[in-house]
């Protein structure tokens, strides 16, 4: 016997679980104009010391469309099968947690197995990317200093200097790094550093149809991210690692790793 309330939640869940695929198709069009702007604009007048950036992910808003993953792949030439950002789908049941991320969620998600759907008590999508940790283990362990923190607090890799030892990949607690198959150096999300320098937003942020991803400067009082910081209603991934993540999650469920 089902409670009406539960039914309501079920409907919401079904939309969430199956919805990504449809949304993905509908939003393909959004990507092109955003990316067209990428190579425009000089970065003069950009003062690295003047900013404190954070990236905010609102779990409740993500619909798993995968737009961001595709946009990132195009913007940053990410090799197939490797990911600077990806989307996970969580389905929580009383028996345990079901997580998947087919192709990093690049093409959205297929509708979930009906049996699992029956058991679901909660379900949601979680976008992942480099946390640009203020106390970054990857920076600490790089034997040659090829991974470094920029004056604006971006954690970056110098591809001309990296020796490809892979120590940083081991040290990152969040699994966001990979050895780029094509360039044979360590690689990961840069928060689209090249775009930020030109006053643009990261590619993934510009294509997110629901505003689940946002990026901003906490020193700018009018920036929405400054408010989120003020509200103090955010979490970070694996807080026990004490890396001081600068990707803040709003509405992060307990089960997320």
């Amino acid at each position: 016997m089902k409670q009406p309330e539960t039914n309501g939640r079920r409907v919401f869940l079904s939309k969430l679980l199956g919805g990504g695929v449809a949304a993905a198709g509908a939003l393909m069009g959004l990507r092109a104009p955003a990316l067209a702007k990428v190579l425009e604009g000089p970065d003069e007048g950009f003062d690295p010391g003047e900013h404190d950036y954070v990236f905010v992910v609102d779990i409740q808003k993500c619909i798993g469309c995968g737009n961001c993953v595709r946009a990132c792949g195009i913007e940053n030439n990410v090799p197939e099968g490797q990911f600077r950002t990806w989307i996970e789908r969580y389905v929580v049941t009383h028996e345990g947690v079901h997580v998947d991320s087919p192709e990093g969620g690049m093409n959205g998600f297929e509708a979930i197995d009906p049996a699992l759907r029956e058991q679901a008590i909660n379900a949601f999508f979680v976008p992942k990317l480099c946390n640009h940790c203020a106390e970054a283990p990857c920076v600490q362990v790089c034997p040659v200093g090829a991974t470094f923190t920029s004056p604006e607090g971006f954690v970056l890799v110098d591809p001309e200097h990296c020796i490809g030892c892979g120590y940083c990949i081991q040290a990152c607690p969040y699994g966001v790094r990979f050895m780029n198959k094509e360039r044979r150096v360590a690689d990961k999300c840069t928060w689209c550093y090249h775009r930020i320098r030109r006053g643009q937003q990261p590619a993934c942020v510009t294509v997110c149809p629901t505003g689940s991803r946002s990026f901003g400067d906490t020193r700018d009082e009018n920036d929405p991210v400054a408010q989120i910081l003020k509200d103090d209603q955010w979490d970070v991934l694996k807080p026990g690692m004490h890396t001081q993540c600068q990707v803040l999650y709003v509405g992060l469920p307990r089960v997320v790793v």
Partner: protein, 391 residues
């Protein structure tokens, strides 16, 4: 069994591939052999264990041969090997790995100086006896010092002792440090333990001693020379001691994590009953540790001698060199089996011919023995035949 209430084996998309593979397995293995062999030579030079007099020089040569190849697997592993020297030029001191170049090369220098001091009277002798091109080579090896007086012998002796003495902490640094590279990675539940440097060091000494026993017996057998049973007994006594320490710490480490039942156990429990069950629990612990431990106990306590001693010592040593190799595998690969997702395990696949495959690994592992063979053609490594036959 999957960790953290996972219903499916979920690994992070970037964790599907195991980045540190066989090259990183044999890198600490060879480094360990260097440290272990060196310790044996120092046991004679510094601690005056006189049974090891006959193998002190041999141990030094062996350490040198392994040392020559300790960095090779690392180099092969690098995705940009041509930039390897960045590690010297732009050393990044917060990195546990960054000073490896310095530690390793200074250690090799120490080894070479000690070897040179040990052999320089022989070089001088050869330079005087030979002619032509040979003479040029031998003279070059004397580094221009062609006089060898009783006074120089005394100085050399003191210097050698001194180098052997500072060589011990240095060997410990070299290898404990390799353990630190793993032990300090907090992101990896299977690596992150302050015991890691000691575990690496103890297993290094075990592998080095066991390898010396195997090499010694093989060389003696091939050249038809007598065996120094007293030495083998002593070596086995030390080996047994180090096996006990090594085994205890390794078991203690796992037991602690189990008993604490914290976050680490949520990953290591499933790891040990899953991907590492065969290679850690069965192979490393039950077969390759317990059996040699018992055999060595019999050898030491029952005072076994002569041929039975030789056979049992070599049997135990063979299992132990394999044990340490498997241990390196279990640490390096096992740690990466755990996906950072904390909800699944990545699978390791052996490759054969690839750059980091089984074949290149075997070639690198075989190389020190080839160099040893070549060196043994030119320099005398054992000089205790008369002493042994006279006995």
């Amino acid at each position: 069994m999957l960790p953290n209430e996972s219903l499916v084996n979920f690994i992070f998309p970037n964790n599907a591939h195991i980045d540190w593979s066989l090259m990183i397995v044999i890198y600490p293995y060879i480094t360990g052999l260097v440290a272990g062999a060196f310790v044996v030579s120092s046991l004679y030079h510094v601690f005056r264990i006189r049974e090891f007099e006959g193998i002190a020089r041999f141990a030094l040569v062996a350490a040198f041969c392994f040392g020559l190849f300790a960095a090779v697997p690392l180099l092969v592993h690098l995705a940009q090997p041509q930039r390897a020297f960045n590690i010297f030029f732009t050393t990044h001191l917060t990195s546990a790995m960054s000073v490896f170049g310095y530690v390793y090369s200074s250690y090799m220098v120490l080894l070479m100086v000690e070897l040179w001091l040990t052999y320089r009277d022989y070089f001088i002798e050869r330079a005087k006896e030979t002619s032509g091109l040979q003479r040029v080579v031998w003279t070059a090896l004397t580094l221009g010092v062609t006089e060898y007086t009783p006074e120089s012998a005394r100085i050399d002796y003191r210097l050698t002792t001194f180098l052997a003495a500072i060589g011990i902490p240095w060997a410990c640094v070299l290898h404990g440090y390799v353990g630190f590279i793993f032990g300090s990675v907090k992101a990896n539940a299977w690596w992150a333990t302050p015991l890691q440097p000691i575990i690496f060091l103890m297993s290094a000494i075990v592998s080095g001693m066991a390898m010396l026993c195997l090499m010694y017996s093989f060389v003696r057998w091939r050249t038809g020379r007598p065996y120094d049973y007293a030495m083998i007994r002593k070596l086995m006594t030390f080996l047994w001691g180090f096996v006990i320490i090594d085994f205890t710490i390794e078991v203690l480490e796992v037991f602690y994590v189990y008993y604490e039942h914290g976050h680490h156990w949520s990953l290591i429990g499933p790891l040990l009953s899953g991907p590492l069950y065969n290679s850690f629990v069965i192979t490393q612990m039950l077969i390759l540790s317990a059996i040699p431990f018992l055999v060595l106990a019999v050898v030491v306590i029952r005072a076994i001698d002569r041929k039975p001693l030789l056979y049992l010592a070599n049997f135990a040593s063979l299992l132990l060199v394999l044990q340490v190799l498997v241990m390196r595998f279990n640490v390096v690969i096992g740690g990466q089996n755990i996906s950072k997702s904390d909800r699944g395990f990545a699978t390791f696949h052996f490759e054969i011919l690839a750059k980091e495959g089984v074949l290149p690994a075997l070639i690198i592992l075989a190389a020190p023995f080839v160099v040893y063979y070549i060196l043994s053609r030119f320099i005398p490594i054992f000089d205790d035949d008369e002493r042994l036959t006279a006995r």
